[in-house]
Structures are given as structure tokens and as C-alpha cells.
Symmetry: C2
Subunit: 387 residues, 2 copies
């Protein structure tokens, strides 16, 4: 059953080889001062930095740079970027990078003109922006988070050991995003598969949650099937354009609010993964893969019919036997795929030690809307079997 | 393979029981003068007219009415509405009805301030608007066309016996659409099934076209499966909220540019159906159903692998035998479903006579981008076997 909802996603997407050329069309819509945001410098090596800055200068923009956005963007970095954006009177924040850079740019967009502490206001208190929002554009270089077409922005406070996401409304979504699949060719394999699993897990979070049996189920299965099929092709040849473009496009739709429409969602794997991330600074997708199987096996009894459907529709498991048998066959097929991709399958490999589990459990936000609201004991049990 | 594309769909959708209440939020964004556009008066009988006008008046709007929009909106009606909208200095065109009313509202939105003949400019010459565009909002009461979330607007010129669609860009898409599945409960069964088939055929047009094997294929199959499943439930009980809401939501995504992204499309069943519509004024969905099987059997040899996939994925045909055998099993299953719904299965039942076929063939636009570019002989052959 579809619950009531509002769907509004105005992000304009330019997709395909050479899509960066569309930046020339977009830039004149914004003022002169552009804050160029990027990460650790890989865009300087692969030439994307040069391409982007050439267009910015050809369009007569006054560019300031905010580099060094880390994989898990921190509150400290946000405060620093806010000062920079204010000094530069930024009219546009142009994020060039993956989900972290894009998330950071959105967090920045609601912080530049915010007179309160953005960490407290948006992340701890969950309030919505009341200030002017600086427009964000995005040139995507890594696939997975869906940040290019949604209002989400995850932020980490290392001192408080908290990693929290806020999903802002459509006014914070990127005004435009440029998606060139060839830009993802040089992403290291470990980052590529982590991104694929991040996208896949976004779909699972929404699929295994809330009321079932609506169009979202079929759409989710479609996206998951496409990701699985194309992941093998991308693994075999990272420059397989067809595979990389399908993965890029599926990942965008995995988390742009479409498949969540009319559903409640608890995002509990992300809550667990984010707590692990706050403790270890591990790659986001790997924190999800490490806790996924333990989590899904734990909640399986509360949604066994849906797990059966998942097994049959996504993994082509034989539709014979008890619900539990078919459901488990699906999870085994998923586990094989995850191992084939080379994902992190346990928390130990991410540097988590037994003595950290209590703290991680404390840092795990518990949401409702899923098949089971987890208690602290449940969380500890899942973390222990993930170790 | 995904070709390059731009995706931009800013329409805001309010979905669910009681969604009309959101009109109160939207109206203050526009000026005082509202042109209320509707059809033959069914909204006066079922109470929707009273609900909408109560909100318009409560919001202090100055309302003029443009009623009597026909199932196939004509150029004459457009000229009349244009004069009305100009006299009223319309700030917002509010369409309350099905796809015809919504299409008409969009055609009007680009005609009010147009100094040329809109039929010639947009429909015959295929030009884009250069004038100010009046914003359109939509309250949907019938499902099928997808007009609530796209830039399409089909117009009929009865004197020239031409029915032509123009797909305008995102600036012509409705600013907002209100989708309350309960508003579709009172639609007569014949209109309901015609709408379901219209939506289904939108997906087929995009699925059986252009380069294959991208995310669009899986998404299209998802939407088709959902439509088939829910059509039986809606047929059994027109007030089945789950079925009606799933059909409404799937129909929106069937034609809002998502599944066309990165593909070429020829829309040839619609070209045939529109020519039939120009000659008979028959219900749009029924003109499509009447020519579909003949058309798809005609082009099957040019895309047999995709027809096999369609048979297996959408109709659960056994994946055994030659491509042709499996493909034909799929079309037979589709035919059974179409007959179960009570769709028009031949042109004769729509009032087409043998002597009209030459004229209909002349009025059929031939597009490329599909599996086969049709010649006049092909079109006549398809029309003859549809008779």
C-alpha cells in the first residue's frame, strides 16, 4: 500500500560521455563567485580538475578552492569551508568528486548563511534550514551515494564519535549534476565495489521496510538486478562503458526519493554502518557490507515473505520450499555476489575490535519504520556476529 | 547502451487520499488570476469541482472557467481558450481532469502569449516556445496519459484530420500535480481500462525501441508487471485503493521521461493510434489497443530477442523453445490480458471502415528510432490486419 507522499526532485542531470560540456550552459545562471569543492586531489591527477577550471575561467568566474574534503567529511572541515565561502561571497558551490564531496557541498550550502551552529541545528536537533541556501552543482567522479540527485548530507563529528545524515528538502538538492561514466574508470577497484554495494544497500534499505506490495517493490528489484548484472561486467573490465553507465544511472535512482515514495523506511544498516564509520573512518560502502548479512539474517523472521520474494525476483532462487528456505537461498546468493566483488564481509577487517562494540552500539541511531525496531541488545548481537 | 541525455523533471507531485489539501500550499506561489480548465462536467457531478473552487476562493483567487475540453482537444478550442486566458490575464492555469484536460492546459500555457499560430508553430513546424509560459497546475481525475508529469500536449485539427503531439521541455511541465487515487474511483470502466492500456503502451513504446540492455529495460518491466497485476484487482473492485494507487503511480512513471532516458524511441503505435483518433474521435487508449497486436507482430522479426525477454520477464512465459516461439507466447499472454480487460481489439469496433484506411495511413507520422522504420505499405498492412 502506498502511503501519502510528496515527490519533488528538480535536479537537472546531464548524463554521458563528454557531459561536462554542459557546464558552460549552467554557469551563466549563477553569479560570478564560485567555490570549487573537491577531495584529496585525484581530480588533479586524472585531468578533471583542469577541464573544470578551464570552463570556469572561460565563463569568467571568480573561483576560490576548498580542497581536501575527506571521505567522511567532518564538522571541523565544514566550519572551515563555511568561513571560506563567506569570505568569497560564494554564489555557487561546485562539487567535483564523489558522494562525500557532494554531501559536504550540500552541508556547506545550508551553513554559509546560517547564524547558528549547523551541526547542532541540522544534525543533532534535526531542524530544517531557515537561511538563504547557496546553490550547489555537482560533477560526479565516483558512484554510489546518490548524493548527486538528493538532499542528503552525512557529516561526522570525530570528537563526539557521531556520523549523522540529514536529508534536506528539494531546495538543497543539487541544481544540476554532471554524470560522465568515463570519469569513474580510474576509481580504484575497492572504491568501485564499495560504491556499488552502497547503491545496492540503499535499495535494500527501502525494499525491506515499511508497507510492501507497491510499485516501489518492482522498481527496486529492477534496479538491484541491473546493479548485480553490470557489477560483474565492470569488475571484468572497468572501462566497460555500458556497465559503468548502467551502474551510474541505477545508483542515482537508488536514492533520489523515488523508491521511498509512499513507504516508511528505517535505514538501519546505514545507522549501523555510520556508527562503525565514526569509530574507524572506514569506507562507507564497506561498513555497510560488513554488517549487512548479520543484520538481514537477524530481521528475516520479521519479513520472511519479502525475503522470499527478494530471493526469487533478484537472485532467481527456485520458488520451492518453505519461506525460510527460499529466503535463505537468496541471502546465500547475495553473499556469493558480495564475495565475488571483494567486499569487506566482517567488521574485524575494518579495524573494529571487540572492546569497541559497546561504543558503536551507543552511536547507532535506532529508527522505526522497518520490520523490527532494534533494541540495544539486538544491535550488539548483530555487531558481534559481524565481527 | 545508454546514449547521452539530459533528465530534468521538476514537477512537484502530491500523492494520496486527500492530497487536494496541498493546493492551499501551492496557490499562494502564483498571481491572483486563475483559469480553471476542465472537461465535460463529470467533476461537477462527483464533487471535485466544488472542492477545488472552495479552495480557490478561500485563497482569494479571481477565477475564470474554461470548460468543455473534449477527449481529443481541438485547435478551435485552443484558440477560444487562448482568448479567454488573455482577457483574464491568467497567472495560473489549473487543469482538473484527465490527460486531455492536462494536455490542453499545457498547449494553452504556450499559446497565451504566443504571437504566432500555435498549431503551426508547435505542431506543424515543431518549434519550441519563445514566449512567456503561463504556469500549469493539475488535479488528476483519470489515469493513463502521464500528462501530469511531462511536457507532452497532443492536439487535434479536425479540419486537417491531424492529431499531433508535441513534447515540450521541462519549463512546460506542470509546476505541481495532485494525484488522489480515490478521484479515479468513479471513472467508467471503459475509460479506466483504456487508461491502463495507454500507460502500458507508453512503456512498450519505449521498451521496444532504440538500443537495448540498459536500466530502462528493467524499470520498464517493473512498471509493466505492476500495471498488469493491479489491473486485475482494479477490475474486480474499482475502489481497491491499493490497486488504483499503484496504477496511478506506475502510469506517471510510464511517461515522465525516465524510461526514455538514453534511448531512441519511435512511438509508432501512438502515431498509428493518433491517426485513427483524428478520423474517428475514438478514445485514445482504445485506438492504441486496436492496432497494437498487429503492429507488434509485424515488427517482431526485427527485435525478436527483446520480444523473448518481454515474454519471460513480463508474462512469465517458459524460457524454452526458439526466440519466435517464446516471443509469440508472450504476445498471446498479452492478448489474453487485453481481452480480460475488455479493450477494443480491432479498428472496426471503433468505427473505422475499409475505405478510411488510405486516409489514416496518410495521417500516420512515420518516425525512426525503433526496430523498423515503416513504409506506407507497412502501415497499410498493419491497419488492414487491425480491421
Amino acid at each position: 500500500m502506498l502511503g501519502n507522499f510528496t515527490y519533488h526532485n528538480p535536479t537537472k542531470l546531464y548524463f554521458g560521455k563528454g557531459a561536462l560540456q554542459n557546464l558552460k550552459e549552467e554557469l551563466p545562471r549563477y553569479g560570478k563567485n564560485v567555490l570549487l569543492v573537491y577531495g584529496g586531489g585525484s581530480i588533479r591527477k586524472n585531468g578533471i580538475y583542469d577541464e573544470v577550471t578551464a570552463i570556469l575561467h572561460a565563463c569568467g568566474k571568480n573561483v576560490a578552492e576548498d580542497a581536501g574534503v575527506m571521505p567522511n567529511p567532518t564538522t571541523e572541515k565544514l566550519y572551515e569551508g563555511t568561513m571560506l565561502a563567506r569570505r568569497h561571497s560564494a554564489d555557487l558551490i561546485l562539487a567535483v568528486g564523489g558522494g562525500s564531496v557532494c554531501d559536504y557541498a550540500k552541508a556547506l550550502s545550508v551553513s554559509v548563511h546560517c547564524t547558528e551552529d549547523p551541526w547542532k541545528k541540522y544534525y543533532l536537533d534535526g531542524e530544517e534550514p531557515t537561511c538563504e541556501i547557496v546553490p550547489v552543482g555537482c560533477v560526479l567522479t565516483m558512484v554510489g551515494t546518490g548524493s548527486e540527485m538528493n538532499g542528503g548530507a552525512v557529516l561526522t563529528n570525530p570528537a563526539q564519535k557521531l556520523k549523522i545524515g540529514h536529508v534536506f528538502g528539494s531546495e538543497v538538492m543539487p541544481r544540476f549534476s554532471i554524470l560522465d561514466p568515463t570519469y569513474t574508470y580510474t576509481v580504484p577497484k575497492r572504491q568501485m565495489v564499495a560504491g556499488i554495494y552502497d547503491a545496492f544497500n540503499h535499495i535494500m534499505e527501502q525494499y525491506f521496510s515499511g508497507t510492501d506490495d507497491n510499485v516501489s517493490d518492482e522498481l527496486s528489484e529492477a534496479l538491484m538486478k541491473s546493479l548485480v548484472k553490470n557489477s560483474y561486467a565492470a569488475l571484468a573490465d572497468p572501462t566497460d562503458y555500458e556497465a559503468r553507465s548502467n551502474i551510474m544511472w541505477a545508483a542515482t535512482w537508488a536514492l533520489n526519493t523515488l523508491i521511498a515514495a509512499g513507504k516508511t523506511t528505517d535505514w538501519e544498516v546505514h545507522m549501523l554502518g555510520q556508527a562503525v564509520g565514526a569509530y574507524t573512518d572506514a569506507t562507507h560502502g564497506m561498513t555497510l557490507s560488513a554488517v549487512s548479512l548479520a543484520y538481514y539474517r537477524y530481521i528475516l523472521p520479521y519479513g520472511v515473505k519479502k525475503f522470499r520474494r527478494f530471493a526469487v525476483e533478484v537472485w532467481h532462487a527456485a520458488d520451492e520450499g518453505t519461506d525460510e528456505e527460499v529466503a535463505e537461498a537468496g541471502l546465500r546468493a547475495m553473499e556469493k555476489w558480495m564475495r565475488d566483488l571483494g567486499l569487506s564481509m566482517d567488521l574485524g577487517s575494518l579495524g573494529v575490535k571487540e572492546e569497541m562494540l559497546e561504543g558503536i552500539a551507543d552511536a547507532t541511531l535506532v529508527m522505526d519504520g522497518g520490520y523490527k525496531v532494534l533494541g540495544r541488545g539486538d544491535i550488539l548481537a548483530i555487531l558481534k556476529s559481524s565481527l
